[in-house]
Amino acid sequence: MDWTGSFRKAWVVTGLTLRYLLTTRRAIATGLLALVPVILTLSLAAARVVTFDIVLFQQLMIPLFLQVVLIFVTLVNATALIREEIDDNTLPFLLTRPISKPALVAYKYIGYLVAVLVVLIPPIILAYGVTEAYGGLAFTADLDVLGGFLAATILGSAAYGALFLFISVLIRRPLAVGLLIGFVWESVVDSIPGDVPKLSVIHYLKTILKDVIAINPLGQYRTDVSAGVAAGILVAVSIALVVLAAFVFQQMEFRQKAG
């Protein structure tokens, strides 16, 4: 095994993916959406809202950031990785290089993860900073909240990304299915009784937030796993889905569009 060679290739594919995701028009759309939390907190501050504090921050970020921004950004980026190259007929350029297909999937996934975190992390930190500054508190005052959200963002990006990547390798119209899962299933699943919520990503993200954060609007959230277990499950599921995607991709054949 030639480690320096593999590392170099990983670097190139990751870089190429990053460049694609961050320098094309899609980056403007996802970036704008990711900025909505910051804009909201800024306008709350500007409007001198009395109740604007760290609890409000959480009440705002859970439905907005976790259930809309995170899903949209991961969906649009993760489905682009393989499916758009297939649609655009650019895949042959990569597939005729000495790099195995599973490695390609893995490196692209790493590129994706970096790209979405670049888009998602700064706004959440900024929004948090604005909240604390408005309350006249130190930046470190509610580090548990920030930590919880950062963990949820990172794990959520990993899990949603892996899920959407897998879907995009399996089917031709991944965005439609992704929309249904992301916006419909993930939002209604909480109101289903029994163990059904455990079949969603959002359940584990909320579990983490509930466990990590001291002042918490999720205090009453119904869950029977701890933050550590939830994080472990998300990581395991992400890895499993990426491996599955790589396996399917390895066996796939690529036919150009008729012509």
Partner: protein
Amino acid sequence: MNGVVEAVGVSKWYGEVLGLNAFTASFGKGITGLVGPNGAGKSTLFKLLIGQLHSDQGKITLLGENPWNNVPLKRRLGYCPEQNQLYGWLTGQQFVETLLRLDGMPAAESRKEATAALKVVGLSSAAHRPTRGYSRGMRQRAKLAQALAHHPEILILDEPLSGADPAGRVHILRTISEFAKDGGHVLMSTHVLYEIERVTNNIVLIHNGKAIASGNIHAIRALIDTHPHAVRIETSKPRQLAQALARMEHLVSFEFPAADTLLVRTRKPDAFYRELPQIVSDTKLDVRGLESPDDSLDAVFRYLVG
């Protein structure tokens, strides 16, 4: 089994649609031209060779190895797909450079090699423009550059000339010839027969997923020589000439489409051409022109494909 490509009974189906059907052929060294109508199976063959498709039946090898999911083999081949899409957001230089680095080449070296490859294909002046603004001809050159840049042993080119302007065609063909002269192998497909005749003697005719003729162009010419020909002779005395030619046994018919033209149909063209100079110079008849619409690769293709 020492050919560059060996295929024995290879079949590939897309559901019910035919890709290749018990395709058997062996391609030798140097440039090989693949000729066949649309949908004959040329692109399918190429995709099998670069390991993008898996054959349903039969055995295919490239440089002696099975190409399906064969990673090390990829270093030895360069592929130029038929489609014109590139990564529009990269410049030509970045495009070739990135792909070179995926071959495991260090950054500095790949920059140098990419610049060199773009120069070879004549794209230096546009190297630093985003490829989304490239014309079809420029895209062909960029694709060729990425196929060449890592100095592969074999180039697989799917319609490398389509969309290029006349100057571009000449340039691309010259590049391909030079690559082959330096010991490389080339497989290329094209629709424009007279252009493939300029660079190679080896061609394979594909039709309906099968190789219907392959080998030296002269062997294929021999095929031409055995199928009936019409020859148009321009002469001031067509009837006298017809009388003189009448002693050839293989002639089928004479026609006089114009006052100074004789149209002869023959079953054995090679014999006809061999005997003609003798007769003309013996009878001292004035023959001003001679042509046959059936004496071309185009014609043999039509004849074989029906």
